[in-house]
Amino acid sequence: MDNYGIVFALAGAILAALLSGIGSAKGVGMGGEAAAGVITEDPSKFGKVLILQLLPGTQGIYGLLIAFITLSQIGVLGGKSDMSLAVGLLYFGACMPMAFVGYYSAVKQARASVASIAVVAKKPDQFGKAMIFSAMVETYAILALLISVLAIVGIGSLNI
């Protein structure tokens, strides 16, 4: 049972990358559809709608970052990978904020991006304001990233 520590730790890293990645793929896809709709009618708005399309893509990068840090910490990328079940579960838990918040914030940010793309379609001069609405959702992905990083890094110094 003690050997299961690494299994949980690895599962946490995979879920962080997986769920955030799925959320971002879904989000960027939705943004892309809306952007394509605008470009069909007015190709000059490409630059603006591209930025809005890409906003939900950051969660995937955050998930990748968390997975990468976790893999380094648990020794999967080299080094010693022995750990107790308790430590493995701690790593698993530390990855969860990024996994879940990453997925949901990407999907919700995509909805905001789609709405912002509609604003740009009608009022391109309001691009800055439209982008802020979508960017606000990013806050929660960043908070989740921060807490996951602090937790993963902190686990190493715990005396368990």
């Binding site: 939705m30 559809e33 605008v38 069909t40």
Partner: protein
Amino acid sequence: MSQEQYIYAVARIRSKELALLDKSVFEQLLSCKDYKECLRILAEKGWGTSADETAEEILLSEREKTWTLMRELVEDMSVFDTFLYEIDFHNLKAAIKQVYTSHEFDNIYLNNGIIEVETIYDAIKNHDFSELPEYMQKSAEEAYDIQMHTGDGQLCDVILDKATLDTIYKKGKETGNSLFSEYAELRVVIADINIAIRGAKTGKGLEFYEKALAECDSLDIKQLTEAALTGVEEIYEYLKTTVYADAVEVIEESPSSFERWCDNLIIKHIQPQKYNPVSISPLAAYILARENEIKSVRILLSGKLNNLSESVIRERLRDMYV
């Protein structure tokens, strides 16, 4: 159908909405010296397909443009059926009249219905109603029999008009979409108010109201019938107890004011779709907005053609979606 399927379509519609004629364009059209100048401005706005088109051809081509765009954006056009039953029933009416008179008439059928005009015409001509959709069969047969046996064109129309309203109401509610559902409700309410007022003014009896008035949620047909049997004032009193109390003032003003009020009511109900980023509703709202725009341009052009004053035309123009 998932709402996310319409993201591309709604984004395109948002861009298309920029080309809708707004109040300022109508002001420009109103201030035109004559009808030809109006046509020139409309051509500048991209209306019509060629320079030598007549006003009616321009309006037809604009309607066609809307439906061509929708066919491009939506794979399954049956989502818009709520708007199209009226066309089919109109074509059914026209086919019955054509078969009854045994004459060929030009331009009596409308395009872009759900069922092909030929199918409707063949069904009536061959007296084979099974070729028609189920919701149409019973009323088509009844209307056909009345027209053929009694020659009563008005009763034939009453039966088909009620069937149209019943179908719009039933199918609109079945969509589960709030826009189609509200549209169906308003179409029936507006028609019922019109029927009651006209019936009261011409002294129609109970049998007429039973045949003509269609069920809806926001009006009590029984109370409306009782009011209509008593007189127009009673209808006004009844309407004042409903959510359509505003209608009384405009009905008293003139029939054209009431028509304008009805169209504006539908536009008012679809306005929130301008801010809806997903679902079929913004597309449906765009269709209604275009129909409303085309109707306003038709009113304006016929006003200009008949040298009506700017104020007379202005009071007939509808509120715009944008």
